[in-house]
Amino acid sequence: MNYKAITAIAAMLTLPLAAHADPDDDTLVINEDIEIVTKTAAPAHLQDAMDEIMSGWHFRSDETQAMEMDDFDNPGMVFVEKALVAWDTADGTEGKSCADCHGAADDMAGVKATYPKWNEAAGEVRTLQMQMNDCRENRMGADAWKYDAGAAIDMEALLSAVSRGLPVNVAIDGPAQSTWEQGKDLYYARTGQLDLSCASCHEENYGNMIRADHLSQGQVNGFPTYRLKNTKLNGIHSRFKGCVRDTRAETYKPGSPEFVALELYVTSRGNGLSVEGPSVRN
């Protein structure tokens, strides 16, 4: 059989799968209570690139969307419950829990929305996981958690869950600006054998199909995200790693300064969307 015939058969196979990749117009309300802003005007710094920013939720099927509309249906909340236990459990040489300093987890509402964030004392931009590890090592006398791994991602999901519905609002000016610029450079830098930048897919081609999947804007307001694919919570840096790997480039490590900068920049592209994690994606 030659190429022509194979192509013809391939076309027949593909046809029934053709589907619209455009984002839909559904609205997301969680637990019939928390209204999530999933579409809004792009922040000022992004207005040359796009008019409207959209949560990845709009690019998913109705079935996947529905799993996020009720905490009981959202398997990501299983991990949030695990983190709630950890929140109240003393750890380390100081015998302190998160709750001993911070009170109830609910009292942390709004914190996630401002991270990554400049830390004056440390003189660096920190992600929420870096700040959690600062607490663990310096206040609790406990070992740092591995970046994006079990306990850390569960806790990030808890802090995200209590901030749901609040607008993402990371600072990109002042002392954070140089890190933000570094992240922006990384976003637009083409890498790998496929010579793709983040923008190639998520700015220039969102709404189009990549093989059988929908390309979203690559917003991170829904992270940590429970993926049907691996049935666990996934962190932002782990997702970056997967994307960079798919361009066939050597990737940076989760927790690396490059990914911290990229997280700040990508998060800032979603300023104005609601904190949505733990979201459900495919």
Partner: protein, 138 residues
């Protein structure tokens, strides 16, 4: 586009496979059905199966079965390595003979629901679910 005779034959075979595949039921699935029904005939109405036409990921596919008056509903994924998924046995306090769950599908295939009615008769429903391969593995 021109096709040689051999190409045309190949195309025909490809089309034949396409036509037959979604409706073929594996021997293991046939055995499971025979065990459940005892080989009895199955009506085309009486049981409803709700499944997505396209599943975004085969790892977690939401499905719902409903058969008013049934005592049990068996759910099969005919294209999986082992076709069994679940059998729902409804007790006297089931307010509806219906249930939802999330299942694994190894690929595009027919999902089948067979209801055993209170009078001993059987009903069958089937739904083709396309499982997409995804884009970026991430």
């Amino acid at each position: 586009m021109e096709f040689s005779r051999r190409d045309t034959l190949a195309l025909g075979l490809g089309a034949a496979v396409l036509t037959v595949l979604p409706f073929s039921v594996s021997a293991a699935a046939e055995d499971a059905i025979a065990e459940f029904t005892g080989g009895a005939d199955m009506a085309d109405t009486g049981v409803e199966l709700t499944a997505p036409e396209i599943a975004e990921n085969g790892n977690t596919v939401p499905v719902e079965v409903s058969a008013p008056g049934a005592t049990a509903i068996m759910l099969l994924a005919t294209g999986n390595p082992t076709p069994g998924v679940a059998t729902f046995n409804f007790g006297p306090l089931a307010a509806a003979q219906a249930a939802s769950t999330r299942i694994r599908l190894a690929g595009t295939q027919d999902v089948v629901a067979i209801a055993k009615m209170a009078d001993g008769s059987f009903a069958k429903a089937s739904s083709t679910v396309k499982v997409t391969i995804g884009g970026c593995g991430g």
